[in-house]
């Protein structure tokens, strides 16, 4: 693989534009291994151009204006969305329905994946295997085995995979992390999250043909085939356990990432988890309306509690509280869109205190997170702030929270072996075989 990539990056192609066939100079030409070209400009493609995908596209167009990136292609299973993305992206950007055309293009260095969750792992692994750097939306995966495959693919192919949980490169998260790690509230033994409920599909509709322009089979991808229903998509995939996993896998992926960072607990991979919830009384969506999940970590001992709604301590829709021996610190949202608590912002590092990594190129935290990804590529270390291994561990918390709810029992998770202790049935849920050819 290494040899292939060196070969690709030192291969000069003629530059030409033609509809349906692009042949351009790869940005990696004349560049060192794992680095963008001499001009530092990454050639990128967007896979999934719905809500968050359009934010990514807007970010990349700004990087393009600044000469740091070039948007080469956009892709979506829905031609309606794809058409809108092409309009936004402008001339010279190639539209595709099938992301694998993008992976075939040697001139593209990196992809940004913002498809529904059930696609994240497959597309990330495939992109890595084709030598592309990846920015993938959170949650990284929908099963533990998918997450493991993503980590393995990133390492084997020496590419940078950044997961889109932006708080670790956002100021709110940084101020909070720095303050907590340096004892603003003393030793923290408990962290609680509050979040509003999952919605109920209170206007269910029968199955129907997919709307014109949507490739339903491709939208389903790795999932078992079933007829189209308007309550699956576009954004509603979030409210089904198999494809979206509800708030705990959506916002939880943000909040848990920040909390693990603040608690310096990325290496604390073993825990127990218990969950309870109230399922909806009707409709297609099956995520529990309310939910409470408790994770217990050992050595050091602390508890993480997901509450939906939980005990709302702050002012906004969701957030978390660090309960320390000397008080508490609240973080609204997860450190991205909202500023940190003023106490954290004004916290003075004590003598001998521990500084925390910070990327500080952009005020906009979405831009900053991508700048951090670029930096990891540019510098060649390939370990962005939310490297896929961190994203996988965070997603494991989310996925096992849901699994404990689905199975209705306490699970003991061995993070070293990545298996549930003494529960063969639960271990079968660590993977979900995928529909061919949409396989890892």
């Amino acid at each position: 693989m290494l040899a292939n990539r060196i070969s690709r990056r030192s291969f000069l192609q003629r530059s030409a534009w033609a509809f349906g066939s692009l042949s351009v100079v790869p940005s990696g030409v004349l560049a060192a291994e794992s680095r963008p070209g001499a001009n530092g400009r990454l050639v990128v493609a967007h896979v999934g151009v719905g809500g968050m995908g359009m934010t990514h596209l807007a970010n990349m167009l700004r990087f393009q204006q600044e000469g740091k990136a070039r948007v080469a292609a956009v892709c979506d299973a829905d031609d309606n969305r794809l058409g809108a993305a092409v309009e936004n992206a402008g001339a010279g950007v190639m539209p595709y329905r099938d992301y694998r055309y993008i992976l075939e293009r040697k001139d593209i260095d990196a992809v940004l994946i913002a498809t529904p969750d059930h696609w994240h792992a497959v597309q990330t692994v495939h992109a890595c295997q084709c030598g592309k750097h990846v920015y993938v939306e959170k949650p990284a995966s929908v099963t533990v085995r998918e997450g493991q495959a993503m980590v393995a693919a990133a390492r084997a192919n020496q590419v940078a995979v950044q997961v889109g949980a932006q708080a670790r490169t956002a100021k709110g998260g940084w101020y909070t992390c720095r303050a907590i790690r340096n004892g603003i509230v003393g030793k923290v033994r408990r962290v609680t999250c509050w979040h509003y409920a999952n919605p109920v599909d209170d206007k269910p509709v029968p199955d129907s043909p997919p709307p014109e322009g949507l490739d339903w089979d491709l939208w389903l991808g790795p999932l078992p085939w079933r007829p189209h229903n308007r309550r699956y998509q576009p954004a509603n995939f979030r409210w089904l356990l198999e494809s979206g996993g509800g708030q705990i896998r959506d916002r939880g992926a943000h909040q848990f990432s920040t909390i693990l960072w603040c608690m310096n607990a990325d290496q604390q991979t073993s825990f127990t988890v218990e969950a309870q919830g109230r399922p909806p009384v009707k409709g297609l969506w099956d995520c529990p309306v309310e939910m409470s999940v408790v994770y217990q970590f050992k050595d050091p001992d602390w508890t993480l509690e997901w509450g939906q709604p939980g005990d709302k301590v702050g002012q906004t829709e969701f957030g978390n509280v660090f309960w320390g021996e000397q008080g508490r610190l609240v973080l609204e949202w997860e450190g991205g869109y909202r500023p940190a608590n003023p106490e954290a912002i004004h916290f003075q590092l004590p003598p001998g205190g521990q500084e925390v990594y910070r990327t500080d190129e952009y005020e906009d935290f979405n831009m900053n997170h991508k700048a951090d990804w670029f930096k990891s590529i540019r510098e060649g270390h390939l370990r962005p702030a939310v490297d896929i291994e961190i994203g996988h561990r965070t997603a494991t918390l989310c996925n096992l929270g849901n699994l404990a709810y689905i199975l209705g029992r306490r699970l003991v998770w061995d993070g070293e072996k990545q298996e549930v202790v003494g529960d063969p049935e639960a271990n079968r849920f660590l993977s979900r075989p995928q529909r061919y050819p949409y396989v890892l």
Binding site: D79, V86, P204, Q276, G277, V281, R409, P433
Partner: protein
């Protein structure tokens, strides 16, 4: 969800079915959560409801079946799991693929060696063969691998690629039938915007 703590569990299968059919959401909606208490006996009558024209009843029956299966799969309840498996197996031969497809996935969660042959028989059914392949991949042990290998020998050419992938996932070497996972196939109707002439 904690099925053990489900309040107001039904006293019988008949009561469970009656509750699930209740058109009042407040009563019928949560009824499936009590299914675990009814055990394997409830499987056949619940499966009949999977084809109910009322989508809420069908959905609720499906959730009840999964609830029951998952509860039976808990550690230390092997006899319950085997009873549920035994009740699910005849449903694999159901004339409606919508039923056999769901049953395959239920068996993927708790199925033992005993389930392998009837599940593998569906690898020859074009409607559900992909679900059967996936469900077998979830079963541990040698027998599912042997069943997939046997199916590979006789499968139609277009299905052999998927089976070859399964066998490779199980650590076997397969000659030919290279992976198609990276082969693009879908075309968009959207066209790019042409650059402005200079």
């Amino acid at each position: 969800m904690n099925v053990n703590a489900t309040p107001n569990a039904p006293g019988s299968v008949e009561e469970l079915i009656k509750r699930i059919k209740n058109p009042n959401d407040a009563a019928g909606g949560p009824a499936w959560q009590g299914a675990a208490a009814c055990g394997a006996e409830a499987i056949q009558p619940l499966a009949e409801l999977l084809l109910e024209p009322d989508m809420e009843v069908a959905r609720s029956a499906k959730r009840a079946l999964y609830c029951l299966t998952r509860h039976a799969g808990r550690p230390g309840a092997d006899a319950e799991a085997r009873a549920v498996e035994a009740a699910l197996l005849p449903l694999l031969a159901h004339e409606k693929s919508a039923v056999s497809r769901e049953v395959l996935w239920m068996l993927s969660e708790i199925g033992s060696d005993r389930a392998v042959a009837p599940m593998a028989a569906l690898l020859a059914n074009e409607q559900v063969r992909e679900d059967a392949r996936c469900a077998l991949l979830r079963l541990p042990g040698e027998r599912p691998t042997a069943a997939l290998r046997a199916a590979f020998r006789t499968a139609p050419e277009d299905f052999k690629y998927a089976l070859a992938d399964s066998l490779r996932q199980r650590g076997l070497e397969v000659e030919g039938y290279p992976s198609r996972k990276l082969v693009p196939s879908r075309q968009t109707t959207v066209t790019p915007i042409a650059p402005k002439p200079k």
